[in-house]
Symmetry: C2
Subunit: 233 residues, 2 copies
DNA sequence: ATTTTTGTGTGTTGAATAGCATTGTTTTAA
DNA sequence: TTAAAACAATGCTATTCAACACACAAAAAT
């Protein structure tokens, strides 16, 4: 638990949608029940089948939400950046988690009990709308991703994954280096392919001058071409 | 538009979750703005990219929600039975539809303007919770289905599709004939495979005495075996 | 009744991609 | 600093499944 003043410093008001819809009293209530957690790189935040208890708010770092499938193969469902919220879906659905979350880099998160969130929703329509909107967006995204993963070929799937990384995390100051440094295995898990094929396909993108690669540092050289492959490949 | 008394006959109160959470005044309001539509077999209810306007309530018949992908290939996202609701997600997400819906058999639906639904949510917390719960369930289902479709092999995917049909529509009075009669092509679209492979795989299930097939009439002879294949295949 | 269309069943072929093995390289840890 | 572990790159092989072709049956249209 942290003091309210500290919390206000951490949460920039214009970014934290939830924060802005709360009344002063509710802000107090949340601030007093907002527990900061620090996670190391690769540390699990919660695991599939766990009982949901908290609304997680990512303040700093990067988080992946994933599902373990057949033969240890993993599918990355969504990626989170500050300030975004997760962990609430299973609680609302009244079921255990169907996916796990993990910190991709050292991350700072706030935990708010879902019991409290529920109580606030009971008295604050705007918070209800926040979650209705959020869930609706994610459901559309999930349905779309399903078709992308099942129907596109490898090139299209990897290109799509790269555009997701662009849209989620953007570029470094040079305007072309991806601001996330993922293992090839995670790129593969995002695109539903084996690590070998992620590496291979990255190489062909390099040879086609669409990207350059230096270790985990990926530069997007020809973004229109990438989006074209993502759309039609 | 139909009279309130008629509507009450159509909607059995214990089945229609939305109906039960409304106040008498709201029920009036909905009843007066509830427009009955009849759809023929294979008729589109709404199409991808349309602007969402109505909450659709399936009163009689069967509806599939699907997305057209590469090369005319179709992915069935969800199946609906009476009394279930759909068409609201895109409106809540404030975007055009990302999927289409179609009546699989002659169906009766009610349309309620989303504007009205929004107004009622503004004054009725329970209706907000209904949609939060509904969206949360569907999002979990979509995430799970994504991994099933991408990671399971053909047998597992078709077995899973059949269990979905069992869970959604159940059996005829004999307790083993599926209460839905789908084209092989739709079975394929549900399971992310070609029609040929759906036919082939159905045949192997028959030869393994897991099901019997007579045209579109499918009997589930060994449900435990089917669920086992769905889980581990 | 006959033709056309649509749906079903089956075999063959080839392309896409997973699996595996090997080697080199980078990162982490002792 | 060296050893160990994890990661990246690449070639080869095996498998899965889509594409296509064709035959036949059933349903719909004429």
């Amino acid at each position: 638990m942290i003091k309210k003043s500290t919390l206000k410093n951490i949460i920039s008001e214009d970014l934290a949608e939830i924060w802005t819809v709360l009344t002063p009293e509710e802000k107090h209530l949340v601030a007093d029940n907002f527990v900061i957690h620090n996670f190391k790189k690769n540390q699990i935040i919660y695991a599939e089948n766990d009982e949901p208890e908290y609304l997680w708010c990512l303040l700093k770092g990067k988080v992946k939400m994933f599902k373990d499938g057949i033969g240890g193969r993993q599918q990355i469902l969504r990626l989170y950046r500050p300030i975004q919220y997760f962990g609430y879906r299973a609680y609302f659905a009244n079921e255990p988690y169907v996916s796990s979350t993990l910190a991709l880099e050292p991350s700072t998160l706030g935990a708010i009990s879902m019991k409290l969130v529920t109580e606030i929703i009971e008295q604050n329509r705007k918070l209800a709308w926040f979650f209705i909107h959020e869930l609706s967006k994610h459901l559309g995204g999930s349905d779309t991703k399903m078709v992308n993963l099942t129907q596109k070929h490898i090139r299209g799937r990897l290109a799509e994954a790269l555009t997701i990384l662009i849209d989620n995390y953007g570029f470094e100051d040079d305007g072309e280096t991806l601001k996330i440094y993922m293992a090839r295995e995670d790129l593969a898990n995002l695109s539903n392919m084996t690590t070998s094929n992620a590496i291979r396909t990255l190489s062909t993108f390099v040879s086609e001058k669409i990207i350059t690669v230096d270790g985990r540092r990926i530069k997007i050289v020809n973004e229109p071409a990438l989006r074209k492959i993502s759309k039609f490949g």
